[in-house]
Structure formats: C-alpha cells, structure tokens
C-alpha cells in the first residue's frame, strides 16, 4: 500500500482524535479534559475535510468547538470545587467500563473489517455545489424539511429549558 499524503493526513488526524479522546477520559484536571476535547474535535473536523465535507467541517469547528466546548469550559469553571482537582477521576466500576469498551471495540472491529473490507473501486464524485444541495435538501418538502423544523423546535426548547434550569 502506498503512503500518500492522504494517509499521512489521516494518521495525523487519527492521532489528534484518538489521543484527544483518550485525554478527555483520563485527565485528572477538568480544564485539561476540556482542552483535550477541543483537540479531539479538531481532529474530527480534519476527518470531515478529508471526507470532502468542508461545510460540515466548518460547522464542526464553529458549533462544537466554538460553542459547545466553550460552554463546557464555562461550566467547568462555574462548578469548580474548592479543592480544585478531584481526588479520584474514576468510579468504582472503571474496570467493567474498560472491559465493556474493549469488548465492544473488538466486536465492532471484527464486524467492520470483515464486512466492509477495502473499497478499491474509485469513489463516486461529490457534486460541485454540495453545500447548495445540502441547503436545498434541508428545506425541501420531499427531503428533510420536517426533521429540520423539528430540530429547530428542539433547539428552541433546549434554549428555553437551559435558561430556565440554569437560572439563579
């Protein structure tokens, strides 16, 4: 298998993502965890670029990193306990969690590797105006306008709800 820049990029983004993810779940300091989260999210954005979905990558950075991760950092800062870092990061059932996670990974890996194999055929082309198409799909009555509207209502509800719940 030749190593193309694509592969290198893929590897890099993998490191970012998986390393970030690993950091999220293991770092003792919550700020560190949040920052690791940001790293992971960046990695995911990179993946999205590699997969020729630039719009989504942009949205990822904007929404996830720009909004969600920031809110998480806010929350971390607002809920700082006096002692600073927590004494123990993991619950009593961490071993069970490890086993579950690894088992799931093994199984998924097994299935995925066997089922989908390597797709050697050339990939189909992505349409030129994919963003426009996406936009049309989101509001077209034949496509996803209903889920779109529902999602907006959801966001509205979440907004109101969050405000109400977090109000002093």
């Amino acid at each position: 298998m030749e190593v193309t820049p694509l592969h290198i990029a893929f590897a890099a983004f993998s490191v970012l993502t998986l390393g970030g993810g690993f950091g999220v779940v293991t770092s003792r300091n919550l700020i560190h965890a949040a920052l690791f989260l940001i790293v992971a999210l960046f990695g995911v954005a990179g993946y999205l670029v590699l997969l020729e979905a630039p719009f989504l990558a942009a949205v990822q950075v904007l929404v996830y990193i720009g909004a969600i991760a920031v809110v998480v950092i806010f929350a971390v800062m607002l809920t700082r306990s006096v002692a600073g870092t927590n004494q123990v990061t993991h619950t009593n059932q961490w071993l069970l969690a490890v086993i579950t996670a690894i088992a799931l990974l093994v199984m998924l890996g097994f299935v995925l590797l066997n089922q989908f194999g390597t797709v050697d055929a050339p990939l189909g082309a992505v349409p030129e105006d994919s963003v426009e198409l996406l936009g049309r799909q989101l509001v077209s009555p034949n496509a996803f306008v209903l889920p779109f509207e529902v999602a907006s209502v959801l966001l509205l509800a979440a907004l109101i709800g969050a405000v109400v719940v977090a109000r002093e």
Binding site: L6, H7, F10, S14, L18, G21, F22, V24, V25, A33, L37, V44, Y47, L48, L51, E52, A53, V59, Q60, V63, Y64, A67, V71, V72, A75, L78, T79, N86, V88, T89, H90, T91, Q93, L96, A97, V98, L104, L105, L108, G109, F116, V119, D120, L123, G124, V126, P127, S130, L133, L134, Q137, L138, F144, A151, L155, A157, A158, L159, A162, V165
Partner: protein, 102 residues
Amino acid sequence: MIPLNWYLLVSAALFCTGLFGVLARRNAIAVLMSIELMLNAVNINLVAFWRYLTPGSLSGQAFAVFVFAVAAAEAAVGLALILSIYRNRQTVIAEDVDLMKW
C-alpha cells in the same frame, strides 16, 4: 485511497473511548464531554458512509447536520442541569446524585 473500514474503525475506537469515559468518569461534566465524543464518532461514521457509498445524494450530510443540532441542544441542557445540581447539592460528582436509589 483510504479504505472505508479505516474510517469506521477510528469511529468505533472513538465511540468506545467515549463509552469508557461515560461509564468511568466521576465528574458529570467529564461524562458530558465523553458523550460529545461519542456523538462525534457517530458523525464520522455518517459522513464516511455518505462519501463512500452515496456521494450523490446528500442525505448523509443532512443527517450529520441534525446530529450537530441535537448535540448542541443536549450539551446546553445538560450543562444547565449540572449547574443547577451544583448549586443545590454543591457537588458535580455523578455518583453523589443518587436520590432515586431504593
């Protein structure tokens, strides 16, 4: 050409990492962060499948957009809840919120 299953494998790994974090982290915000990881893994999955199998129709991307929206909403509400709990119970440790126990 990167095989599809590499993307899928990465996505699975990320998902399992997130799962581990959900189950094993004490801090509730850390749990939330792990959930975000899981959602991101799902996103990668969706887009990879779109790209490799049906690049013509943009349903995969639309689905990913919806996932973004839901993730955002859920993060907002979840963090609000955690803040509220923190105010009432002075704790953000998920284990300590066990009023619903027997």
